[in-house]
Symmetry: C3
Subunit: 305 residues, 3 copies
């Protein structure tokens, strides 16, 4: 089992067979670390640099854990700790890191396109851990894995992504990956948060959350960026919650079997009511658990290439 | 050899047999790392998260070293690096960390009771690395181990804890652990620093440091929190030093064999004179060395459960 | 193969045989990590503390990677994270770290002499990662290794170090190491940046960069500390660049075979023109790659002692 892709920049152009290999490998790794404490050595002797130009506890930790569980040597860089503060260019910083014989680079950056740009002059395997509003492919893969784990399949399912679609890399990675596997993807949110040209991807748009709950098998509810969005993309947080917040009542009224995903961290009482955030429809902590396994799969498969 | 306890929250309710098992295991680990460079693998394949919501170089480093020497995979979290800054609740943060299949959590927090609270909803083994003014059990254990190493026993010894007892987690962990093993524990400090109801624990209180030196085998001298205490709990640092500072003269006049412990970092010239801080009565660096071994013992014993 | 030296404080008094052993070992490690992914275990079971009282991504990362590739347990300390902020003395901090049975200490400090001072009261092997304007011996060694790798020898070569010699630890470590191996070392820079008594080391001084390029085989071009030097040691950055900046034109006019070293991070357009920084004469990324190998050699050789 080896992948066609050499880097993981986004799910937009990853062939179906590659996604399926990753999902199969994820299952194997998840079973391993839930049943065995035997240390894996898939990446022993390999060095991975985690270069995070944006803060992220959750994703960075998940990658770091995946890397250590595969016995890689791990180096962590953050923008504040890097030589960038001495005025060095981004390219020089990365070329210097790479000159230390780094095998793989996991990179997060606020600008879309940086991970792709790195593949052009770097010898290392590049894994995108989120670039601007472009893609966050391992998040997409862990969402897909979690849905398949819970519902047994992806093909033919109806999935609606709820929230600030326009600024979300999670939304795009979900869209591309899920469509490749044959799901029907739609979006729901205030019109100020839906990109104008989204229909070109063949995705339906809901303005009414109740209808979205009724007509879908899964909601992937995005995090509202409280500090950024309120007052700009909608009048107030209360209004967002009134129109788009997921509550037990809405689930009961419309679709009691709906599966709720959320990439975390949750704003309880904003995009999810506290009851839904801890309720039986959500699989949020499964997503976290699966995130480590999916990253082990990606790292191990690309590290072999 | 296995422990009755499943977590280490405090020494208050740890049975005598468990403390003795930990002390025996500590001796084994100390001998190992002083005589052999063979890498231990007791925790190979296990993941430990160090979650420090209060700064601590000393304790965090000691735990981290103990964990690495046992071949665990180690993740470090501090309050500043965590998703708490994105408004996530403490409980959500910990549940997320745990969802990554963490086996053990070492936690320090400014609020008493947080480690105990974690045992209620977490599947991981919880080790308290200091919670508010409650307990700091591995510090208590390393103090006990050091005393036993130097004086050959604990039972029947007279130990006086000197300083700000009211705000000290070290004082309580010493009290509980030492009493369980049959020592007589007393306290000495300005009356503003002694809790009013301390006699309920059967501990004698000294207001006079000379008398305390005369009547005890060991002083455990706490660190004065310069930034917090002076001007509030006593008129000035100079006055504290005059009344309660340990000097060579006081040792010579009262008890030349007194054993001096201090949890560090030392304020030279405040609670200990520079001569005492470097003198023959103190065993401060032995405490540091033993701290790593005691933490290896605790981690390895609880990790097996 | 074992070294006469027990610590690496500077290259000033390292015997020729020791440097040659280190260079030979560097070659072996470089070959290993470029051809094999087998994990080395030279320092398995050993603990190394990296204590950096000055920021440094590049050097700290290179050491950390070297240590991990040799399977050491690694602890990182920075001045901000240390107990120094609680008012503890430097000596107490280091003695405490060492009491945890640390085998080797890699230290960077803004004061010259600190690493040597540590050897006086510490049981650990001390490696200087840069102390004030004194020495940076592993940088000197990696420069020497890179020159030898490119030109096949050191003896008889003419090397000119360009820039702020007076404040450079890189300059001194180059001077001592290269002279020991029989090279001719000279300096070039504004007179305000050349120490007055530099001739006592038998080093020629150039005031004219064109002449320096003509008469040397190698330039080691130091980084201009933009934030510190301009307006103090010379009138302006533009003036420095006009008089001492290395450009393609100057290379073409004077010596097309000149080898250009730079310790990084580069100020493109200041001490090196962008074309030179990416051109065929420079070996800057080779230096970075060799830095890891040279540190593996030093750590492994001193760790065996």
């Amino acid at each position: 089992m080896s992948l066609h892709i050499k880097h993981l920049i986004g799910l937009q152009n990853v062939p179906k067979e590659d996604i399926e290999i990753i999902l199969k490998s994820t299952k194997k790794f998840k079973e391993h670390f839930q049943t065995s404490k035997e240390k894996l050595t898939d990446l022993s002797g390999k060095t991975i640099a985690n270069i995070f130009f944006e803060d992220s506890t959750r994703t960075r930790t998940s990658f770091e854990l995946a890397e250590k569980r595969l016995s890689a040597d791990v180096l962590n860089f953050s923008s504040s700790s890097s030589s960038l503060s001495k005025g060095e260019s981004f390219k020089d910083t990365v070329k210097n890191i790479e000159a230390m014989n780094i095998d793989m680079i996991v990179v997060r950056h606020s600008s879309a396109g940086i991970p792709f740009y790195l593949t052009k002059y770097s010898q290392s395997v590049i894994i995108n851990a989120g670039d601007g509003a472009h893609e966050h492919p391992t998040q997409g893969l862990l969402d897909i894995y979690t849905i398949k784990e819970k519902l047994g399949r992806i093909k033919g399912l109806n999935i609606c992504i709820v929230g600030d679609i326009a600024h979300s890399r999670v939304a795009l990675s979900n869209l591309f990956g899920l469509k490749t596997l044959g799901a029907n993807v739609s979006f729901c949110g205030p019109s100020t948060m839906i990109p104008r040209d989204i229909e070109k991807f063949g995705a339906k748009v809901y303005n009414n959350i109740d209808k979205a709950i009724r007509e879908n098998d899964i909601l992937n509810v995005l995090r509202i960026q409280l500090e950024r969005d309120a007052g700009k993309n909608f009048p107030s947080i209360r209004e967002y919650t009134n129109y788009f917040g997921i509550t037990e009542q809405r689930i009961k009224n419309n679709n009691e079997n709906i599966l709720i995903l959320h990439p975390g961290p949750i704003n309880r009482g904003v995009e999810l009511s506290p009851e839904v955030a801890d309720g039986n429809n959500q699989v949020i902590l499964d997503q976290v658990t699966n995130g480590v396994a999916v990253r082990m799969a990606v790292l191990s498969l690309l590290g072999k290439n």
